[in-house]
């Protein structure tokens, strides 16, 4: 992490100059406040007293094409950000991965009241409303369930973004302000606490004339309605006073907000930008006050360093890069070759030449599911020699499996075939292009010829789903949850198990993982799965991709949060303008 504060004071200039000269200069410059202490105190850094009032503009680095997060076409990180101040949150993870319920919606932690079947009780905050005086209630739970059920008899022709929750619900009942969700027999997720159970106000769907409860076609029509209409409703600290699809959202405080965090800002404009360059250009002129974009380059960091009045911090973000092998490939179907390929790749060297340009102290990722600072983190990767770039070790692995090398030092299989592989990556990602060349060089030392196969970013999805790769590098998003991810990546029946890994032992572990309700037990099993995947030499984690938060030095309580989809916007209620010291 490289926090940096840039007060306009002349005294700070030498520090800044050193930073530029030392190429990847580490450490923080002197001076309090800002993001300086975000490395040590990620949850509370940049906090302080807020002045009353203030109007700010926050940049979102992408656009959204509809207003309904439940719908596949609309759902995106950018819409999540755009609705951060109004949508109902059951709770949020903080930067240390701890989940905190939202006291503006609930008055207690969700509670597991029965294990068989699984029943979870939600104690609603009696003051929680949809911003129009209507209380949030059981109907809204049911509406959300229908929308995400993936069941044609509840919502006909719907395209829910996810159905893992909705398809598992058996019934929803209410008793006063307590709403109980009963799951069907198949459900036993250790992450029951974090399920999203609310999205839209059912009464607004009814008022708009949709008989959603009885008519699945009307249900679908009401979903389209929410997709096309700017939310007038709010369950958050702000309400939307003006908005344009894909362009901007203007927030003012929600007078009915029931949460304990008091809102001080008068107005927040969330505005969509199509590039980080444009965001920084506008920040330099003071027309934008901050942003936490999904990607950042070394050029951007240098621009931020030379801008006045802008604080920024770089830290591992909510995505991780990895290199995957296709087990359906004629060569890579052999675990020995897969292991040797990973042993030959020098991950630290790769990071040094790419991501370290952005984050000086960038670290290698050593666990697929848990980040280094997680209490569940264990390193089962280093011991296997994967990712250390040890050609001798890799050669021994192959030797033992009956491989040989010809006179030109080209690797030959036990059947005496030369080994040639392709390596796919997204061409617009400069870092991935460099990684590709470095891997190519590593594997050339092993006698494996790599043919680079860059494709356009729109081609990444098709390439993966069709399995048109031998080796491929891409990113997944990280979150403190891990149960769903493990099955998504590795279950032999998952459509996102792109390299076609089919390991019965792993499937058995994943079944156990999905069968426990206890989070600690689940984490233990998840690490078993990680160990199994490492043994299979299937996915080589590279790094938690560094990202930056940047904000005017006048903003207080703004800080990045990798664990939230909304990033820095996760605590938007607490944002404010710094009082004069």
């Amino acid at each position: 992490m490289r926090p940096k504060h840039r007060p306009a004071a002349v005294a700070a200039l030498p520090a800044a100059a050193t930073l530029v000269l030392s190429a990847c200069g580490a450490g923080a410059s002197a001076g309090g406040g800002g993001f300086d202490d975000c490395e040590d105190r990620p949850v509370t850094c940049n906090s302080g007293e807020r002045a009353d009032g203030g109007e700010i503009t926050w940049a979102i680095d992408g656009s959204w094409a509809g207003w309904n997060l439940s719908v596949a076409a609309d759902n995106s990180a950018y819409l999540n950000s755009a609705l951060a101040g109004v949508r109902p949150f059951e709770g949020q993870f903080d930067q240390e991965g701890r989940w905190q319920f939202n006291d503006g919606l609930l008055s207690a932690d969700p509670e597991l009241v029965s294990e068989d079947p699984v029943q979870v009780a939600y104690e609603l905050n009696p003051d929680a409303t949809w911003g129009d005086g209507t209380r949030i209630g059981v109907d809204d739970f049911v509406y959300h369930w229908y929308a995400r059920s993936g069941d044609e008899s509840l919502c006909a022709g719907c395209t829910p973004a996810t159905t893992s929750y909705g398809s598992a619900v058996a019934s929803i009942d209410a008793n006063g302000s307590t709403v109980t969700v009963t799951y069907d027999d198949g459900y036993s997720s250790a992450e029951w606490r974090y399920e999203q159970v609310l999205s839209h106000p059912a009464h607004i769907a009814e008022d708009a004339g949709f008989d959603w409860r009885e008519d699945p076609e009307a249900m679908k029509a009401s979903q389209d309605h929410f997709s096309e209409t700017v939310p007038t409703w709010t369950a958050g600290p702000y309400r939307i006073t003006d908005a344009e699809l894909g362009q901007f959202v203007i927030y003012e405080p929600n007078p009915e907000w029931a949460g304990s965090a008091e809102v001080t800002l008068d107005r927040i404009t969330l505005e969509s930008f199509d590039s980080v360059d444009s965001i920084i250009t506008e920040m330099r002129q003071g027309t934008v006050d901050g942003a936490s974009p999904v990607a950042i380059g070394a050029e951007h960091i240098s621009q931020l360093q030379s801008a006045d009045g802008i604080d920024f911090a770089v830290a591992p973000g909510p995505g991780w890069e990895h290199i995957d092998l296709n087990t359906d490939n004629e060569f890579l179907s052999d675990p020995a070759l897969r292991t040797a390929v990973f042993q030959a790749i020098d991950v630290e060297n790769i990071i040094d030449r790419t991501y370290a340009n952005v984050q000086t102290d960038a670290q290698r990722k050593r666990n697929h599911l848990f980040r280094g600072e997680s209490e569940y983190f264990v390193d089962k990767l280093s011991a296997t020699g994967q990712g250390i770039g040890d050609i001798e070790l890799a050669r021994r692995t192959l030797d033992a499996a009956g491989y040989s090398w010809d006179a030109d030092n080209r690797l030959r299989t036990p059947d005496d075939e030369p080994v040639t592989l392709s390596y796919g990556y997204t061409e617009s990602r400069a870092d991935r292009a460099v990684v590709a060349q470095l891997v190519q060089a590593n594997l050339a030392d092993l006698g494996v010829e790599i043919e680079l196969d860059p494709f356009s970013s729109a081609d990444l999805g098709p390439t993966l789903f069709e399995g048109r790769f031998d080796i491929v590098a891409f990113g997944w998003s990280t979150s403190p949850t891990f149960v769903g991810g493990a099955s998504q990546y590795w279950s032999s029946s998952s459509s996102s198990n792109f390299g076609g890994l089919d390991d019965e032992a792993l499937d058995e572990i994943l079944d156990r993982l999905n069968g426990t309700l206890d989070i600690d037990t689940a984490a233990e099993i998840a690490n078993e799965a990680v160990a199994q995947v490492i043994g299979d030499a299937y996915v080589l984690p590279v790094i938690d991709t560094p990202v930056a938060v940047m904000a005017s030095d006048e903003l207080v309580n703004v800080r990045d949060n990798w664990a939230s989809q909304e990033r820095a916007l996760y605590n938007i209620a607490e944002w404010g303008v710094r009082t004069d010291e």
Binding site: A23, D277, A298, S306, N357, E427, S428, A433, F455, D459
Partner: protein, 303 residues
């Protein structure tokens, strides 16, 4: 560019009569001072791009011994970028790639345009109607949009060769119209009649008589195609739809230095930009000079 003209001139220089015409054109061209200076300038840039890399110690790749963001100095006359590329070597490579695209486009699209124009003008009737409707169709599709759609989706990475091919396929419309107009009037001339009466095949007439006699139109349009291709290629690369890293092009270099124009690293923005401008500018002047030289009727008149 020099390639284009020499081959074209050789084609014309088959008989002695035409050699005098060549001399006449050359003489007139050398009277056009701006064009001559531009020709020298253009040749210098071509040498810089293609011979330079053999003389200069750095190429366009990242070298760990190059400091990042070195200001211009004798070791690195154009400075270096963030990752540690020598910008002199990088600009040589980028200019070379852009020029390769431009030259291939100029030759290729001029060839297509000349053949289509000559065939359409010679046969007239339904062939002409069909080809000209095709030209109309392509003309209606915005050039930048259709080339971007194709270049953005090349599998296996967009290289200079892909760029050249795509720009070529959509870049011949103007040439074909101009050549067709010339051929329409030429086909009624006596020497075509004569060639036909002695049993010359259509192919023979088109390639031996019609196209050589529209050479002045063709050469001028080929020249201007170079400028057009350089600008299109750099624009597409700038939009992220052209040549991709780790290879480089002038458009990519400008894009990387997008907001440096007034910073301490201004040279990263201006140098590649000036190279694009210089290439296009010199070519435009050379084209102007050629036009004047070949068509004494239109002194200093464009289009």
């Amino acid at each position: 560019m020099s390639n284009t003209t020499t081959t074209a001139f050789e084609a014309e220089a088959i008989t002695t009569k035409e050699r005098t015409q060549l001399q006449l054109v050359t003489k007139r061209f050398f009277r056009h001072k701006a064009a001559v200076i531009s020709l020298i300038g253009f040749i210098t840039i071509v040498l810089f791009a293609f011979v330079g890399p053999y003389l200069w110690q750095w190429d366009h790749r990242i070298h760990t011994e190059i400091p990042s963001w070195a200001p211009p100095s004798p070791e690195h006359p154009f400075g270096s970028d963030r990752a540690g590329r020598d910008m002199m070597g990088t600009v040589m490579r980028a200019t070379g790639q852009s020029l390769k695209v431009a030259l291939v486009v100029a030759l290729g699209s001029t060839f297509i345009g000349a053949v289509v124009g000559a065939v359409a003008g010679y046969y007239r009737g339904w062939v002409d109607a069909l080809l000209m409707r095709l030209v109309d169709i392509l003309f209606v599709i915005p050039f930048l949009v259709i080339t971007a759609a194709m270049a953005g989706n090349v599998r296996g990475g967009t290289t200079w060769w892909h760029m050249a091919l795509i720009l070529m396929v959509f870049g011949w419309l103007g040439t074909s119209r101009a050549v067709r107009a010339e051929v329409l009037s030429l086909r009624e001339k006596e020497f075509i009649e004569a060639a036909r009466s002695v049993g010359g095949s259509d192919l023979h007439i088109i390639f031996r008589h019609l196209i050589p006699n529209t050479m002045s139109v063709i050469i001028v349009s080929a020249t201007l195609q170079i400028a057009f291709a350089i600008l299109s290629e750099s624009t597409l690369s700038f939009l992220g739809l052209g040549i991709q890293a780790p290879d480089t092009s002038l458009g990519l270099l400008i894009q990387a230095a997008e907001s440096s124009a007034f910073s301490e690293r201004w040279y990263l923005f201006y140098i590649p930009g000036i190279f694009v401008i210089l290439i296009a500018l010199t070519i435009n002047f050379v084209g102007d000079g050629l036009r004047d030289a070949m068509d004494p009727r239109q002194t200093m008149v464009r289009r």
